[in-house]
Symmetry: C2
Subunit: 380 residues, 2 copies
């Protein structure tokens, strides 16, 4: 693509390099096929129907969502097999039920007895059998029941005996984002697999149904040696990748499909700064690389064609101002001549889920250079 | 207000305590009146017409915006006097011109000769006199020309002789966010005032017009001892306030008008965690208090009525999960009994501008407990 093809896009704008995205989709799908599991992509990363359709076309089975709004929007766009992968509180059951009654094969999630009891009570009152999974805590980072806890069987029993359809167990080893060696990632992937399989085996041994064993995060999905006993994998950020994933070690910067197009609006020449119109409102406030081995501040600066510059970062960000300067603290002496006012640049983001969320649209750049506008939605 | 009045709002949701907001608006307006200057609120904080109308009703003169989208949306809602307070690159002049031709008194901003020359060239080609201000750098934190620089007069000369209307100078002492004592804030407020006035005096001494001298940030506006020579003040976040401002020392937590309503969805009892449905997608990734004297993690936890709890913070956040636990690292032993699944809580945010931006709507809670939905817009 050239400057001319991007020059009509108002900046800041979220660009998707479509060829790059398609490569990321194919890589994950092929890997899951080789491991003998289904892939249920987490669409919270992009909240974009056009992206999810490409994932489906490549072989994905159903989608994972993080909000009921996502479930509703994707169901309206034709995605009927949906896992809502956040434990549901009682007040959200009416909305889940409405979706199911419209024909959405929505699976909901619990990790506590009160939530399971509320689902059973709602199901009895409404004469409806919800599809439910139990969240397993495989790495201690957030929600879920431990595979060994008595509570696991209690929850399964309440659901099954209460008339809900116990679909299985799921876990997310989110602590994989904190790792950065292949060995550690492989170990965590195996822990995620084995803990979730263990939970399934305990439920089955207790006479409870557990057809599905769902695991996943982008780093563990790309690091697992085997997935024996697992039926499906969930992963989200792989579709775009980002600098956090590059630091984790599961992608290279040139595999990052999302960037923010920005315009130089001024300089502080003696400091070696170019000031651009991508601040934190465009990049998000995500500083995920701050605690990793390489801190990219608010992102890596590329030229308009996406080529990484030699050491320039978005070192600072206010709401609508970004500061481009050397990441090593040096002064870029020729910043004014190199990037005059009006120059277009692209910034690779720390976190594709957070940066994408700042934009109502993506601008998808096709392999032939054509630009399409893809809506993404927000809110709950 | 009571749980019943909030229970029908899907969580997470952005709540505005209207009485609190009105108090904040009155406080700033009265202070500006006492200092003898006009107030031009920065509407980037809320991007919400209903909020801006209250600021106007209280006596504000015009608005400040950070994007042309804001200018367009607020002009469509009847706000005609608009300062676009980010330096404009040449590619955005067509959009600015379109607004002016529709009757918007839009003032644009520059801090460089190339941008000034582009405005003049556009004005000559379109036979249009743009209203332009020059940005002054009063504290070295971001954009602007130093008051003493020769470039200031050069830019003023290019604009004035080129047929643009040179409206004056403006500065924003954004480094005030890094301070936390009244003395330091007073000093910076005086520096912001005196540098901007000095720039105005230099322009006038060079025979150039400079009717307006515009300064401001919430901390300096609330700290200035005098504003001699200043004609208007801009401030934004004061309308909501937030925990960063509480740490700066210009508000108390109970003056924060914005909070995020959230539902408890689970627990990790042995860790003393309640898990809620407000993650960083709701709170934003803004960790502005991290480098301040009190680090509030992702926010202070309040009960559903807005009463601050004893030491509970949103200590962790993933996309749609937040972790409520003790800020001192201790284990809240009775977390399950205290906040059962389904409990509503409210979280005070680090940064009102960033948290608000995560929501398509505010839910405004009136003094009588009634709830109104106020749209806020996004994008560029």
């Amino acid at each position: 693509m050239t400057i001319l093809q991007l020059a009509h896009i108002p900046t800041p704008a979220a660009l998707i390099d479509e060829a790059c995205m398609m490569g990321n989709i194919a890589r994950m799908q092929e890997r899951m096929a080789a491991l003998g599991v289904r892939l249920r992509p987490h669409v919270k990363t992009t909240k974009c129907v056009e992206v999810a359709r490409q994932q489906e076309a490549a072989g994905a089975s159903g989608i994972t969502v993080s909000t009921l709004k996502e479930a509703e929007q994707f169901f309206a766009a034709g995605f009927a097999d949906v896992l809502y992968a956040v434990c549901i509180p009682p007040a959200k059951l009416d909305r889940a039920l409405a979706l199911r009654r419209r024909g959405c094969a929505l699976t909901i999630l619990v990790d506590s007895l009160p939530a399971a009891q509320a689902i059973v009570a709602k199901g009895e009152a409404e004469r409806h059998a919800f599809d439910v999974m139990i969240e397993v805590d495989s790495d201690g980072h957030r929600a879920g029941v431990k595979a060994a806890e008595a509570k696991l069987i209690d929850i399964g029993g309440v659901l099954h005996q209460g008339g809900a359809t116990l679909k299985g167990v799921m876990t997310h080893a989110g602590s994989s984002y904190d790792l950065d060696t292949p060995e550690a990632l492989r170990r965590l992937a195996e822990q995620e697999r084995s803990e979730c399989v263990r939970a399934a085996q305990r439920l089955r041994a207790a006479g409870l149904p557990c057809p599905e064993v769902s695991v996943g995060s982008t780093p563990t999905a790309l690091s697992a040696a085997t997935l024996d006993g697992v039926t499906e994998v969930r992963a989200g950020v792989y579709v775009m990748f980002d600098l956090v994933m590059a630091n984790v070690g599961v992608c290279a910067p040139q595999e990052i499909a999302l960037s923010v197009l920005t315009t130089v609006i001024g300089h502080q020449a003696e400091k070696g700064w170019a000031i651009v119109d991508a601040g934190w409102m465009a990049m998000s406030r995500d500083r995920g690389t701050q605690r990793q081995k390489l801190d990219f501040c608010y992102g890596i600066v590329c030229d308009v064609d996406g080529k990484v510059t030699d050491g320039l970062l978005l070192t600072g960000a206010n709401q609508e101002h970004g500061i481009v300067s050397r990441g090593d603290g040096g002064v870029e002496r020729d910043i004014v001549e190199r990037f005059p006012v009006g120059t277009l640049l692209r910034i690779l983001p720390n976190h594709a889920c957070a940066t994408g969320a700042q934009f109502p649209y993506y601008h998808a750049i096709g392999a032939q250079g054509g630009v399409q506008t893809w809506r993404r939605f927000d809110g709950w």
